[in-house]
Symmetry: C2
Subunit: 338 residues, 2 copies
């Protein structure tokens, strides 16, 4: 029950919304009780929803079907990009994360944006959004900065650059190998290693970009996994136009990508994804995504991109907290629910 | 996929937040996966949350316990009133509402406020909040009002008064009886009858206030049911300081009350509530509320009040829609989930 953290959350939300409002983004209210179209790639951490003990209480389109807690509002936002051009939402992302550790929560606030535009614009939006929050906080009166508990963080935050260094996934793997890490191309980059990369670059926010395309015909199993609708990078075969923003303290705080907008390509990538294979094992099917595919076929789509800002990890960085549970007002994990 | 409705939601949220921001309310992020302390009085409509099919996946405080989807963030906000004075949140309220009709959704956005203050201030906040939205919309350029689909609603909305007529529950029952309705004191007032009351008064927003106190020793069963921590009305024995705002088209759109802040009184009313009896039948206990009671004992509380604005019903009124599912961007009910 820490009111200092609550005040800081209020300020971060206010500055974030002001930034998006000033740029003409529409705030939307995507659902949080959803079919699998509200899942991210991490489908094994979906929470199920039941009523009166009945897991088949909902009858979407007259059929019985599992219903889950949303991990992302991405597709719901994407459906509105052709008409509204720039949209965003603020809401809970739910993950049945079994680990009780310093990095994970079962519920956290995600600020998600989608807009008609390309990958370069996306990276600039992320840089500007983060800077709008940091500059906004640092421009508060000194007494308010103290009241928010940020006094000891001012010098470090003031060093946050306007643009962030970018390492491609390939460069990041090579750099880690140079540093003596036992890592191979195709491996996932752990949070420990993300921390080493940040320290080796500038000790400030760092982009990892252009991850391996999960649909590319690699000779080997590629461990690193990305959402099905990330668009292939035309300049770099076998890579997608995706980006993770890594923050000191918080680690991966933003996941971002340019999205596939061609409906046939969407279906091809969805059908071939590991996510869909897992969903089928859970008793789900591509039916859960049919509303989005039909919608995209009917009204067409436009080149677009988007990302999700994990508020708790941004809060961790702003406050320099080692544990995510100390960084937010209502932390929840498997052992902590109120 | 109606982008006109999406635009209107955006404007309503923006005007609502501007109103609260200007009055110094802090935005908070209460949890949506909760123990029973996130339930409203309507506890039979709680959704349960499971992971991997396990309803006891969460182990709050080391014990196994049911975990639900929040119906309200009220108590989480109330916990912060002593320190922050004025707080609010915007998020989904989840109800396992079996009826698929024109009035109910399984998920809707609730804007909730809690503040240090009394019942009269609460009613003024509600009147001002609703007026801020209506006046804000009507002051948009004519082209924007048309783009939002509100052109045919302008005259009616412009008639919305600055203060709303108020009927006590007792007066409402008497008036319905005068109108020939077969209703007795103690009965719940149905949405059909709320509509008749509105028409008999002004055809504009109407407050029903000072409902029967569920803890009063009535000789009969009182059907109308209110949340456990509504404070007794000192001027009118056997009544609580509660208010429902009834809107044309939308019906009951705001539930409001001054809250009990004495921890012993809280425990007494919680233990005696129908809600707690139902929760016990579901396998729950007062343990789910112990964090709030302990918190209130430890830090003390202050006289305070609050309410929840049901966005979908406000949207229904603004647009003059007969069905709630036509009034919001992503309507969901038992047969409709995407």
């Amino acid at each position: 029950m820490d009111h200092q953290t609550a005040k800081l959350e209020h300020w971060v939300l206010k500055l974030a919304r002001r930034y998006l409002d000033d740029r003409g983004f529409y705030e939307m209210l995507p659902p949080r009780v959803v079919r699998a179209s509200g899942a991210c790639e991490n489908i094994d951490t979906l929470f199920e929803v039941s009523a009166g003990g009945d897991r088949k209480w909902f009858r979407p389109e007259g059929k019985t079907g599992n219903v889950y807690l949303a991990q992302t509002g991405q597709l719901y936002l994407e459906a509105y990009v052709p008409k509204l051009r720039k949209v965003y939402c603020v809401g809970s992302s739910f993950r049945a994360e079994p680990r009780v550790d310093k990095r994970h929560l079962t519920e956290f606030t995600l600020i998600e944006i989608e807009f008609a535009g390309d990958f370069d614009e996306l990276l600039r939006y992320i840089e500007d959004f983060i800077n709008a929050i940091v500059r906004g906080l640092l421009s508060l009166p000194t007494s308010e900065i103290e009241a928010l508990g940020l006094k000891s963080r001012v010098l470090d935050l003031a060093d946050c650059p306007v643009t962030f260094p970018k390492l491609t996934y390939d460069q990041a793997i090579a750099r880690l190998q140079e540093m003596g890490e036992d890592i191979s191309w195709g491996d996932d980059i752990s949070s420990q290693r993300e921390k080493k990369l940040i320290e080796s670059v500038s000790g400030q926010p760092l982009f990892l970009v252009r991850f391996p395309d999960p649909m590319w015909d690699w000779d080997k199993e590629v461990e690193v996994e990305k959402f099905f609708n990330m668009i292939p990078d035309q300049q770099s075969p076998g890579r997608v136009l995706s980006a993770d923003l890594i923050l000191p303290h918080g680690g991966e705080a933003v996941g971002a990508a340019a999205r596939v907008h061609d409906p046939d390509e969407l279906v091809y990538r969805l059908e071939g994804s590991k996510m869909m294979a897992r969903l089928k094992r859970k008793g789900g099917s591509i039916d859960d995504f049919s509303w989005y595919i039909k919608h995209t076929r009917r009204q067409g789509s436009v080149p677009h991109a988007g990302c999700g800002f994990g508020l708790a990890r941004i809060m961790q960085w702003l406050q320099g907290k080692e544990s995510i549970a100390d960084a937010v007002t209502f932390p929840s994990n498997r052992e902590r629910v109120i």
